[in-house]
């Protein structure tokens, strides 16, 4: 008979046998546990998707912004050539130039006129509109003196000369037609770009058309009125010459005007302005001087970036307080190293208000502004480390196998000064670059440990135990593309921007200055600037 001895053992063996190795050491939990767990997993998954969706939304918004800017720029770049083509087309499509002349009123026309009347509109605006349109002003800025000369001298000298030259061949129809076309084409082709030429165009057209039309005097007179909204004496003289040159061709509709002109033919032929009627006395047209504004421009900016606080909380063991236990120093240093290893950049957002002033006549601008920023970062430690010394009386060390995620939110206000290099005149798309420095006050740092709400810490400016530096400084650099629409007083800019801390965020770094770990961020900044870069004097 072989009776086996029942297994025996020490207290430890007894418990290990029953609680660890026994088949009975398996207790199925209630089904509700899985349901709760499944629900928690679903919530966590939703949160994960939500975060991803947020990132995707930002990416889509940035892409749309870029695409719209690019599309707007392309559209804008297509406009001048299209106008030119249309103008050329109209010139060839309209044999009767008087029609074009009639379509142009003597009053100021808005800048975005139909192509066929662009030159006239610019001309009329130049001569008669006291409030100069921004488009004309912008274009005139490049050559203000020339534009002024066009009005004062060119408009009365070379302009008259060219018209006279055209009228000398009044008897030759073919030559006259050629002159018409040349004058018209020249006027329209260059009207949008050269103020001097533009000024000459209507007179040439009107003068020639007057000679060629069955109502020459009416046309000539109209030319004087149309072009001479400023009542140029030379223009009237030109009308007289024109009337004299075609006196053989009578017109019933122009009889009265012809009579009046014949009466004063001698004086008009000599171009004596003093002999003109008082109502037709020359009026000096003074073009307002244009110069680049030196006043402040104001704007707003928003930046989204990846922010890395890059803090190193490790210290020499002697730097820790001994009041928190003998092992506190080593535990804290281990936790700080763990924190740093797991430190991940988070989303940084920045909203700023800016004032910009151009420096002298250069392309350099001084920008200064205030910014509010919220940056985030995450890490994970096994001891819920948030930057403070860890007491060795806690059980924190027991969590080495499982890292607890910690999240940090930094809110700050900054005063910034930058130098910005950009063209103050260029419309449409242009590039800019900037570099500057910021002085930042860390207003609030909020730290949370996942699953341990009691470990939440919030440090403010008044917190004396804050492990963070309250005042920091950093450098910033960026570049990008700027879009300034023609005729508007605002501009958009968009481009990458990078910040580099000069000082560590750690309030009490033990490393020397050059070995400290400093925060940095890389992101994309969009800005809106209000105010015009040009002003009238």
């Amino acid at each position: 008979m072989n009776l086996s001895t029942p297994p025996k053992g020490s207290l430890e063996d007894l418990f290990r046998h029953h609680l660890l190795e026994s088949e009975a050491a398996a207790v199925p939990p209630r089904p509700q546990v899985w349901e709760q767990l499944d629900n928690s997993l679903l919530l966590a998954q939703n949160e994960h998707y939500r975060r991803r969706l947020r990132v995707h939304r930002w990416a889509i918004a940035a892409s749309l912004l870029l695409a719209s800017l690019a599309g707007g720029g392309w559209w804008h770049s297509q406009r001048p050539s299209a106008s030119l083509a249309t103008a050329t087309g109209q010139a060839t499509d309209q044999p009767d130039l008087a029609t074009a002349r009639r379509a142009v009123p003597a009053v100021a026309l808005p800048a975005p006129m139909l192509a066929g009347t662009t030159a006239h509109a610019s001309y009329s605006t130049l001569l008669t509109t006291p409030a100069i349109d921004q488009t004309a002003t912008l274009r005139a800025a490049a050559q203000p003196t020339v534009a002024y000369a066009a009005t004062e001298a060119g408009g009365a000298g070379s302009f008259a000369t060219s018209t006279r030259a055209a009228t000398r061949h009044v008897g030759d129809k073919q030559l006259l037609a050629a002159s018409q076309e040349r004058a018209y084409a020249t006027g329209h082709g260059a009207g949008g770009w050269n103020r001097t030429t533009a000024a000459a165009v209507p007179a040439s057209i009107d003068g020639v058309a007057g000679a060629d039309s069955p109502t020459p005097l009416y046309a000539a007179q109209t030319a004087a009125h149309t072009v001479g909204a400023g009542q140029s004496a030379d223009l009237l003289a030109l009308s007289g010459e024109l009337a004299a040159g075609i006196s053989g061709e009578t017109s019933a509709t122009a009889g009265l005007a012809l009579q009046a002109l014949r009466t004063s033919q001698a004086s008009l032929a000599s171009a004596q302005v003093a002999a003109l009627p008082a109502s037709l006395s020359p009026v000096a047209v003074v073009m307002p001087a244009v110069e680049v504004a030196r006043s402040w421009q104001f704007g707003l900016s928003y930046a989204a970036s990846a922010y890395q606080p890059n803090i190193d909380f490790t210290k020499a063991p002697v730097a820790y307080s001994t009041a928190m236990g003998a092992n506190s120093a080593s535990i804290t240093n281990t936790a700080a190293a763990e924190y740093r290893n797991n430190l991940r950049a988070g989303l940084g957002q920045r909203l700023g208000g800016w004032a910009t002033r151009r420096l002298g006549g250069s392309r350099w601008h001084l920008r200064t502004g205030l910014e509010l920023a919220q940056n985030t970062a995450t890490s994970a430690t096994s001891v819920s480390f948030l930057g403070e010394q860890v007491a060795d009386l806690s059980y924190a060390q027991a969590m080495q196998a499982h890292l607890q995620k910690t999240s940090y939110r930094y809110r700050s206000a900054s005063a910034a000064a930058e130098m910005r290099y950009a063209s103050p005149l260029k419309t449409g798309f242009s590039l800019y670059g900037r570099v500057g420095a910021l002085l930042t006050s860390l207003l609030n740092v909020h730290s949370e440990v996942e699953g341990t709400p009691e470990a939440t810490r919030t440090y403010t400016l008044l917190s004396t135990d804050s492990p963070y530096r309250h005042l920091t400084a950093s450098l910033r650099g960026g570049a990008g593309i700027q879009y300034r629409p023609v005729g508007h007083q605002w501009s958009l800019n968009l481009g990458p921007v990078a910040d580099f801390g000069i000082l560590s965020l750690n309030a009490d770094p033990t490393q020397d200055f050059w070995r400290q770990q400093r925060p940095y961020s890389f992101g994309l900044e969009a800005g809106l600037e209000l105010g015009r870069p040009l002003k009238l004097q």
């Binding site: 029942p6 297994p7 025996k8 053992g9 020490s10 207290l11 430890e12 063996d13 007894l14 418990f15 290990r16 046998h17 029953h18 609680l19 660890l20 026994s22 009975a24 050491a25 398996a26 207790v27 199925p28 939990p29 209630r30 546990v33 899985w34 709760q36 767990l37 499944d38 928690s40 997993l41 966590a44 998954q45 236990g325 092992n327 535990i331 060795d392 009386l393 806690s394 059980y395 924190a396 060390q397 027991a398 969590m399 080495q400 196998a401 499982h402 890292l403 699953g451 341990t452 009691e454």
Partner: protein
């Protein structure tokens, strides 16, 4: 038609029709969980939940507390599964996570628990116990009745096999403190077992 093709088709059909589906391997479960598949998560939970519940019960005072630990532990398992390097058995890794969850739970509840050592002798003679004289539930109840700090040290030392030095580091107590607490827990357990059933000499 290639020879053997019908055979392979019928084989695959037979396989698909015949018998119970083979349970997924550990690697398949892991891959499924990493892809976020709910079925894989549920299968992983069902495979290990009973044994992990037993672990949690040893560290908890009540079943509800054990279920909380189990839930928190499995949440951690699913969240950090990507960091599992497959260098050790998955069960061991999950057990370690459950222990950490239990320690965390203990730390949260420690300030709320009033601890009394009770009236026990300082030391007892070492006894030998016949395993069959005790049931799982009886021993589990005895352990659960221990004061939380004694229960922790006893579980970590006697059941899990950690050394006092390791326990001291885990609980941030000295090695001597761990030894004395374990000694005290042992006396309490011996006394309770003696009351439960006379030891077999």
């Amino acid at each position: 038609m290639a020879p053997g093709a019908p055979n392979s088709a019928s084989n695959s059909l037979t396989v698909s029709r015949s018998g119970t589906p083979t349970p997924p391997s550990e690697a398949e479960l892991l891959d499924g969980c990493l892809l976020g598949r709910q079925l894989a998560q549920k299968q992983l939970y069902e495979r290990y939940s009973a044994r992990m519940m037993a672990v949690c019960l040893r560290y908890a005072q009540t079943t509800f507390e054990a279920e909380d630990i189990l839930q928190e532990g499995f949440l951690t398992v699913f969240r950090t599964l990507a960091s599992f390097r497959r260098e050790c058995p998955l069960e061991f890794w999950i057990r370690r996570i459950m222990i950490n969850a239990a320690l965390r739970q203990h730390r949260r509840n420690a300030p709320l628990v009033a601890v009394s050592d009770g009236d026990y002798p300082e030391t007892l003679a070492s006894d030998e116990f016949t395993f069959s004289n005790y049931a799982y539930s009886e021993l589990l109840n005895v352990v659960q009745e221990l004061a939380p700090r004694y229960r922790l040290v006893f579980n970590l030392y006697a059941i899990e096999g950690y050394t006092h030095k390791e326990i001291g580091e885990m609980l941030e107590i000295s090695e001597g403190t761990s030894k004395s607490q374990y000694s005290r827990a042992r006396v309490v357990l011996q006394t309770k077992l003696a009351r439960l059933q006379p030891p077999t000499k």
